[in-house]
């Protein structure tokens, strides 16, 4: 077990190094650079450009820039090109803002898709199955921002609550009750929008996994023993169908971060998605690179965790 974990961890570290190379090369090889963000500004002279390039080490060869980036990142001295603020605290602060959104969306995804998917698999071919199938396809087919706009219009008109931003402007002195309800409303709609695609995809996946397991011999045996339908489905079938979902958890994280870019833009949520969008616009390389690397670290950590869980749950894995 220890050896398995160690090998797994080492593989992931190698992968992380590859990701950092890739991202660094990609961002630096693409045309356009921080010194040229505002080329039409008349006060921007050639020597200013040179000064900026020197300050950001943009004249160094690529591998030196990579080494400098990694060194500064580990020293904690990496500074944003845009405002000279240290990058890590900046990202951390925005990440904390996004965290409730991610947690809430993850909760919605996992609590909604399981009952829906299981129910659809058990009643395969029924009206319920066919309608959830269709709804799932419909949900992954709507452009995210189109649906968000419709939902915003509906929520604001029907319930009269504001949903843009993290909380209502000027509500700092209101009662605790008002503020927590206010925060809740502001949180629910964007997390729901962030979760929509995940719910649709995962519930389909739950359905197909359950269908697979329900066809197995041991489920028939359990039925033949005369167990009631509920314990066959929930304790015999579901338990075995659950295994692959351990890995799904890790792989859904990058999708959430990608989705946050759009959702946070729509709902004016000051989170990591907007930070990175603004950084991309300003060609703020240190922030862009570090956020992308962080996303990769989170994903790798998620898949590592799920591999451990996998090995704990399923002894066959360890033997390979």
């Amino acid at each position: 077990m220890g050896q398995y974990l160690l090998r797994n961890l080492l593989q992931r570290l190698v992968l992380l190094v590859i990701v950092s190379f890739l991202v660094h090369a990609l961002v630096h090889l693409a045309p356009g650079e921080p010194a040229e963000v505002d080329p039409n500004n008349p006060r921007f002279k050639a020597e200013d450009v040179a000064k900026i390039r020197a300050a950001f080490h943009l004249d160094e060869p690529l591998h030196v820039q990579y080494a400098l980036w990694i060194r500064d990142l580990f020293n904690g001295e990496l500074k944003s090109f845009k405002d000279g603020q240290p990058v890590l605290p900046k990202i951390w602060e925005r990440f904390l803002n996004s965290l409730p959104l991610f947690i809430c969306a993850t909760l919605i995804i996992w609590t909604l898709s399981f009952p829906t998917g299981i129910h659809a698999a058990v009643r395969r071919g029924s009206t319920y199955d066919r309608s959830t199938t269709f709804i799932a396809y419909a949900l992954i087919s709507v452009p995210g921002f189109f649906l968000s706009y419709l939902v915003i219009l509906w929520v604001v008109n029907a319930f009269g609550v504001p949903v843009i931003g993290m909380h209502t402007f000027g509500s700092e002195h209101a009662s605790v009750w008002f503020r927590s309800m206010d925060n809740l409303w502001h949180l629910v709609v964007p997390s729901l929008m962030l979760a929509v695609a995940g719910v649709a995809i995962l519930s389909r996946y739950v359905r197909s996994q359950m269908l697979e397991v329900i066809g197995q011999d041991y489920v028939r045996t359990a039925r033949a023993k005369g167990l009631d339908a509920d314990s066959v489905i929930y304790s015999h079938a579901l338990r075995n169908a659950l295994l692959p979902f351990v890995t799904m958890f890790g792989l859904m994280l990058p999708e959430l971060i990608s989705g946050a870019v759009i959702i946070e833009q729509i709902f004016a949520w000051p989170g990591i998605g907007r930070l990175s969008f603004d950084a991309i616009l300003a060609r703020d390389y240190p922030v862009v690179l570090t956020v992308t690397l962080m996303a990769a670290v989170i994903t790798l950590a998620g898949t590592f965790l799920s591999d451990i869980l996998y090995a704990v749950v399923d002894p066959r894995i360890r033997l390979n």
Binding site: V14, L15, I18, V19, L22, V23, L26, V27, A30, P31, G32, T133, F134, Y137, A138, I140, S141, V142, P143, G144, F145, F146, Y149, L153, E212, G215, L251, P254, E255, I257, S258, G259, V261, I262, Q265, S276, F277, I280, L281, R283, V288, V291, T292, A295, A296, T299, L300
Partner: protein, 320 residues
Amino acid sequence: MHAQDSSTGSLIAHTESPWRLFWQLLQRDRLAMAGLGILLALAVVALLGKATTEWLVIFDPTTVRLVDKFRAPLSEASALLPDADRPLTGVYLLGTDELGRDVFARMLQGSFVSMSIGFVAVGISIAVGVVLGGIAGYYGEVRIGPVTVDTLIMRFTDAMLCIPIFFLILVVVALLPASIYNIMIVIGLTRWMGISRFVRAEFLSLREQDFVLAARALGLPAYRIIFWHMMPNAMAPVLVTATIGVATAILTESALSFLGFGVQPPFATWGNILADGKNFIFDAPWLFFIPGFAIFVIVLAFNLLGEGMREALNPKLQRR
């Protein structure tokens, strides 16, 4: 496709080719057939759109008519317009936008552009995925220095999978000059990972089969074995991924348009008509709902067809 020559399948296998069987199974899936029907109709519309807006200008998507701003669908053109600027039959079928351009003509033009973005992007990702997956599967054991080719390619694939894809697209598209070709290429180059993994897995199992051994024994060159003998047998899952990939590419383009990095004027795509329309959601709701609904329908059609194909190709379901 090999699984069906057991049990009941063997009766069919003598008379029916696998593709015939696939087609029969697909025909049973009403949702998938509806999707196919919509897509065929849309392909005709897209071609007609290209023909009537660019080669033989019947519907003019670019004429600006400032007297006829924000006309609702089915409204008559103003009498003040010069004859050359009048739309066909003098009626704006889908209304006009903020510059008085005919939305119907723009949607027609956009249908071709949107479809071609989807198909070209998917074509690129299939090419990259098939080549990388094929090499990893066929030449997997060849060593380059300390690592095998398979490790090299698959670690690269894994690394690409940990980066949030939309984020990556955004970084590159924001830095590149905005052009329709760049968007196609970038979307294509970031979506090949699933395909390369499928193709590799298929190749690993195909490599051990007798017909490949026979081909090798005949002394056929490697490229012939790969492209003539193995590739057609590995194409089924690729086809499914490609169908769904077109849907994803169209959605990605609309999301990029929303953030302002989509296809730039004068090209109209459904994505950028929708993204512009969101600013006039109260004054001219048709500018928002028509493209939004159109994207929804086409993406849904691709998804339904793709999922129907996946079901029809599933050997476990074929046997039932």
